[in-house]
Symmetry: C4
Amino acid sequence: MATEKDQPDHPTVNNDHLIKSADSQHPANLIPELCRKFWTLGWVTGTGGGASIRDEDLVYLAPSGVQKELMKPEDIYVLALSQQVDPKKRIYLRSPPSFKPSQCTPLFVAAFTKRNAGCCIHTHSQWAVLVTLLLETVHSDLFEINNIEQIKGFGKGFQKQGNLGYHDTLKIPVIENTPHEEDLTESLEEAMDKYPDTYAVLVRRHGIYVWGETVHKAKTQAERFDRPIFMEGTLLTYSSLDYLFQLAVEMRKLGLPWLSDIS
Amino acid sequence: MATEKDQPDHPTVNNDHLIKSADSQHPANLIPELCRKFWTLGWVTGTGGGASIRDEDLVYLAPSGVQKELMKPEDIYVLALSQQVDPKKRIYLRSPPSFKPSQCTPLFVAAFTKRNAGCCIHTHSQWAVLVTLLLETVHSDLFEINNIEQIKGFGKGFQKQGNLGYHDTLKIPVIENTPHEEDLTESLEEAMDKYPDTYAVLVRRHGIYVWGETVHKAKTQAERFDRPIFMEGTLLTYSSLDYLFQLAVEMRKLGLPWLSDIS
Amino acid sequence: MATEKDQPDHPTVNNDHLIKSADSQHPANLIPELCRKFWTLGWVTGTGGGASIRDEDLVYLAPSGVQKELMKPEDIYVLALSQQVDPKKRIYLRSPPSFKPSQCTPLFVAAFTKRNAGCCIHTHSQWAVLVTLLLETVHSDLFEINNIEQIKGFGKGFQKQGNLGYHDTLKIPVIENTPHEEDLTESLEEAMDKYPDTYAVLVRRHGIYVWGETVHKAKTQAERFDRPIFMEGTLLTYSSLDYLFQLAVEMRKLGLPWLSDIS
Amino acid sequence: MATEKDQPDHPTVNNDHLIKSADSQHPANLIPELCRKFWTLGWVTGTGGGASIRDEDLVYLAPSGVQKELMKPEDIYVLALSQQVDPKKRIYLRSPPSFKPSQCTPLFVAAFTKRNAGCCIHTHSQWAVLVTLLLETVHSDLFEINNIEQIKGFGKGFQKQGNLGYHDTLKIPVIENTPHEEDLTESLEEAMDKYPDTYAVLVRRHGIYVWGETVHKAKTQAERFDRPIFMEGTLLTYSSLDYLFQLAVEMRKLGLPWLSDIS
């Protein structure tokens, strides 16, 4: 429904070379592939959710209001982080002829600039939403779970080596939703400051933002991989988190507590 | 089981050119694709549910009693809205040699004529059915939910600009089921009159009808898209609704209310 | 695990021509396709469940102990109904070199001979098993549900015209499970006699048998279809039933009764 | 996240011929196929879980930290059972250039050496985890269920002929999780000793290990199959177990006991 309204002014010079590449690993090709995978796995529904990839200074973004499994490289927005002087006045190097920029843009940008993320994804996962609703009943803004093996799938945190241990408590902050998604930016950044090691922020009654660090690697090591590590890391974090949220909801249905005292 | 009974009389002149097109975006090609997608996503089971697309005066309809993931363009019915003088005596421009017309036909026609819809889909979604059963226990004929982000996926209503806000309450009327599907037409139209801005009507113990407006567009703008907007709009509305119904059922299992007082 | 044990004696003459056909609609090609579809839809798990198709006097059967999504035409058994004089001494026209005959064989044969079925499928559907367990707590051997639209997907019964109505109560008998599947035959036949119009029998703590009538059709009418009606009818009945069982389990979780008094 | 850390020293001679084969049934080709299937069926999420196949003395292993649906033959580790003198100092014949060995390795090796397994798989199945959590509330380290047909899908046990009967109680031991997966080895071996006939061991708050025996077969019999029996057996056991765990969780939600007294 949102696809045909409020079209922003588009520059006539559109820099389409930024999103045209025969390389399947180019961000403009990866984002549609990522979105199709999300759709297939049930991680996004309709237009809810999005994805963004950063390659050095350039940020590639899925547009708003596009059905996620039908996205194409031509639908991608591109901006340069270094050119963003005023968050209220976003400058795009490349815009698709249809669609609008995603309201998630400032949140993705926060992950890129404050956490050196290389990839950030946002979904309206029902398990995530249910977890935030359950926490709301006890006025909590922190999801905590421990003593579940899958916790070992998470890194210890920002610029830290190694992963969480089995007995460690995984903590994901929850911020309150706002009528306009871009207004989440401030509280998202506050949550990042308060929980500097988190890879994700839950948004109450809304969904989740998950990101993965970009890892600087020597060229020889990079050649060992045929797909960007930052994207894999984000996906793995997301799928491990969604596993935990689903498990947490089922535990609640069965009367099982999320935190336990085992050592 | 219904596939071989009660064959209506078919005209000998069958206008097969109306359903034969090499264009993948032709309604007769889109409907089978749509139905396969429904089946894959679990939105329809067996023969339950259907879909219809309107292109100006022509309406394309899936038949009754066909297994949805096996439908072919040759199975499609076509009628002209302008030729329907008597709702009891439907006139088809084109009928498939097997199958019967869908009982949903008058309901699809209501969406096309009363709401200028371009696409209407009907499913027996279990989440929708469970929501109507839960509402029945409190004698309610209105599904209401607010303060959930996904609500922003819905337009404000018929011929209105913009989408619902996060704090707005989404309202979907529920009508009582009848033994014969065509007898729903009157109460569906009443619900459309009472809730002129709704994009959907729930049918108690039965399922849901969801439609999307046809948007008149200049030819140049239309060329920006490679798939009909009216179909996308309907699909996005449907998937957002089914998301909310599933969430609502899970909320009920966890003792969480559908309406809350947040601002 | 059962794949390599208890190989029965196989005739040296193996009539492989019975299962080799370039026609995709030949039963030996349809059964593997059917079993793959079951696997994909989650209707069978591991080796549980099976399918059989009858073409006049010939019966085609999936073997025991084969992983359902990997079955091939060469794995199919064939028998002639007219040659079965002693149910304890099954005579096969064609046997696969590996595998054993399915223990479901006498139950499929009962559907073919007592109900003129053209296709019979058996699954260990978890929804079906849960429904039988819920009925066991009230010592019931009859699943009953009414006032749900999907009920209209079922024919009125054996050799009857037309389908059930919305207010009709769908009744599916439940028989008690036995240690050896072939020992279910007698009680399955009793259930068929007691409920002559049923298209299915639930087996407590086990699963369900569902069949569809073979419909005699003039050749010209048959040519209108490109797939056997008896198979479609069985599949549609099965998917409508599994929908109702899943709905019934969810209704129970939400405290909603299966029978209601609406008119 | 674990993909780029703690790279072990790799031998310069890498024996890539061990994982390069045009035969689709070669273990190095089967393991990636297996892992893709696990991902598709929802049996593994992110990097959780793994698979290993033994061919005589050679063991093929999926690496740690790889996203399961993207694995390739070049990612596979190979070791010779006969060369493993010190479990703390694993000797690999072949290592992938990236990735680390799986922490599951000693557990897979235990299944191969103590139970003559030909294939062993490990998943973080949510149903398995929920079952271990439910058992924890009653301080139990044994999952028991009886009088469910699917139980007949399990062999009687190690080097025994035939399968369990319908009235038999299936017993799967539960071991306590440890911070380091390799530290599970001792308790896994103890569980194998205490329950010599089990094909699986549950790990509390973690997941499950499932294996299948290698069956020695004469060459003529082997040629009857076009895929390794040991892999099929393990998969069938796994899918039957996961079916039972899911059923057990749903039974608990509905207040139905896992053990009953029927005969």
